[in-house]
Symmetry: C2
Subunit: 334 residues, 2 copies
């Protein structure tokens, strides 16, 4: 695997890699529709989590100065900064990765981009259409973060030169992500259509990107924001579904539920995968999370835009998980 190692030492340790799940930030059943309410709350919580304890949280210095429907003063945002010129932005460093939700999945699955075959016009067009859709979502997420004063910068994996071979990451120039972090920015990546050296092209899921970045950048913890309270023992829509509060990962990568305790240990979790989810669903998520946990990095899977997600993002769960916290923690046990 060709991973350029030139500048991989971060100036400041990375605090957190956070995944904004597609289901949490988009209306998954409505084509190309952002869940604006969730996105605003998620951005606010990210801001709160990123602010160092000593920073002033009073005034938000917006960083999206674009024209907006109904807002005439975008051009004046710049004046806020002149008044605040002395204030130094002091952020815990985060990397944000988002899924596609109702963006991109339609285009990808209709054309079969994940199966490759760029010599077919349908696949090539689907590649173009998928990237247009996911990068339009990416732009809106970067905007939402910037409006909360988070110095977010889009880093589209295909543009960054990420590529795969048989769907496994073959090349990923993490140094551009490191350079952005070292310069005080918050890189925003996403699941993307990428070139694949054997298939021609495929879909690189956000979860696989997280796993790769976690191994390279060693964040203190990883948070998956989703649309349910965590991982359940069966589809969460079923009446008897039980939230798995803690999953332990062993040296060999296998995992088991340690809280709640079941008579039957190593219980296989039932999963539901929406038919248009071309990158797999909960199985991918748990196995990727287990790979991250194996590195000694705690992983929290939690419902977006709740007090529980704020608790996870703040990092305070690393000391002690309160009884009333709802979510799934996946941890390494030696």
């Amino acid at each position: 695997m060709e991973t350029k190692q030139t500048h991989l030492r971060l100036k400041t340790p990375l605090r957190c890699i956070v995944k904004l799940g597609g289901a949490a930030i988009t209306s998954k059943n409505e084509f190309e529709k952002i869940n604006e309410e969730n996105l605003v709350t998620v951005s606010l919580q990210l801001r709160q989590a990123m602010m160092s304890s000593g920073s002033s949280a009073e005034s938000v210095l917006e960083m999206d100065w674009s024209k907006r429907p109904g807002i005439s003063d975008a051009l004046n945002k710049v004046d806020d900064f002149k008044e605040q010129e002395q204030q130094v932005l002091d952020f815990n460093s985060f990397v944000v990765i988002h899924g596609a939700g109702s963006f991109g999945h339609f285009q990808a699955s209709k054309s079969g981009v994940h199966r490759g075959g760029l010599d077919r016009p349908l696949v090539k067009a689907g590649f173009v259409a998928t990237r247009i859709s996911v990068t339009s979502l990416n732009l809106e997420i970067v905007r939402a973060l910037a409006r909360e004063g988070i110095p977010s910068v889009a880093m589209s994996p295909f543009s960054c030169g990420w590529s795969t071979r048989d769907r496994n990451i073959e090349s990923a120039d993490v140094s551009t992500v490191v350079d952005a972090l070292d310069s005080g920015f918050v890189p925003v990546l996403h699941g993307d259509a990428v070139l694949d050296e054997s298939l021609g092209c495929t879909i690189l899921s956000g979860d696989v990107i997280i796993s790769h970045l976690a191994a390279e950048l060693k964040p203190e913890f990883v948070v998956f924001l989703t649309d349910v309270f965590g991982v359940y023992d069966r589809p969460p829509s079923e009446p008897n579904a039980v939230l798995l509060r803690e999953i332990a990962v062993r040296e060999d990568g296998s995992w088991s539920v340690v809280n709640p305790t079941f008579g039957d240990t190593d219980k296989q979790v039932e999963i539901s995968v929406a038919s248009h989810d071309t990158t797999g669903g909960m199985v991918t998520k748990i196995s990727e999370a287990a790979m991250i946990a194996k590195l000694g990095i705690d992983v929290y899977i939690v419902k977006a835009a709740t007090e529980h997600s704020l608790a996870a993002l703040s990092g305070k769960l690393r000391e002690k998980i309160p009884e009333d916290w709802l979510g799934t923690v996946i941890r390494y046990v030696s």
Copy 2:
């Protein structure tokens, strides 16, 4: 200069690098306003120029399958492809680079991104705001090209790891552009805010990107699409302005006007630079164009969305320039 040379040999020679000038595709005096009419015509002309002579030009296979205001059938675009599955898309390979026009310039100049200093909140915010603005333009250009059936893919220079030192290109991973070309895509780059190793950050102009890519990728020719008929001997708004039809570039990089002939050779061209143009105006363009021409690559500067731009893009001017062609050609003379 760290330019990764891994895969720099293109499978197929590059036909053309084309610059969509900011003034040609945006309304330069209205904040963040695209010149839709020009953009549609430019996209159509690019499609015509890219089609190989043997290809069928009858049916346009749209590659933007996103939701659009007023259009309900975006989801059905995919069916066009199923009917056309046998048709192989056969394109002359192009790279597209666009300027910022009324996108990004305001944000960049208000914050002084081009002067660097990322430790200042205003500059950091301006960097974020500039990228949001230019990438939103980039997305719309990629969409416009895709709607004409051009397999366009966004490649934002900052994301691609392009960086500078004292405003000169320090690192540019052209291999990702090569990989995209080799896979049959049309990379779409743009002037961007980038990291600068000595200043912290700066603006990398589209013209500098073209110059760098031309040297690396050796296209058959380069076209600059602008909002006037070419390069004039004085601001083109002045009544006696004379269009310079041919500029000859010598071995040492100096240049002179050979058509029309002036009594006074090596006449200095008067230039006008709009005050919000942070990347320089005609002087930058001519000197960058002269550097390209010195490589033996003909450069055409021509008014976008005219018969003259179509003639330039088609490549037929390389054999003979008709008397009635309006534009400026910049050529190497030994």
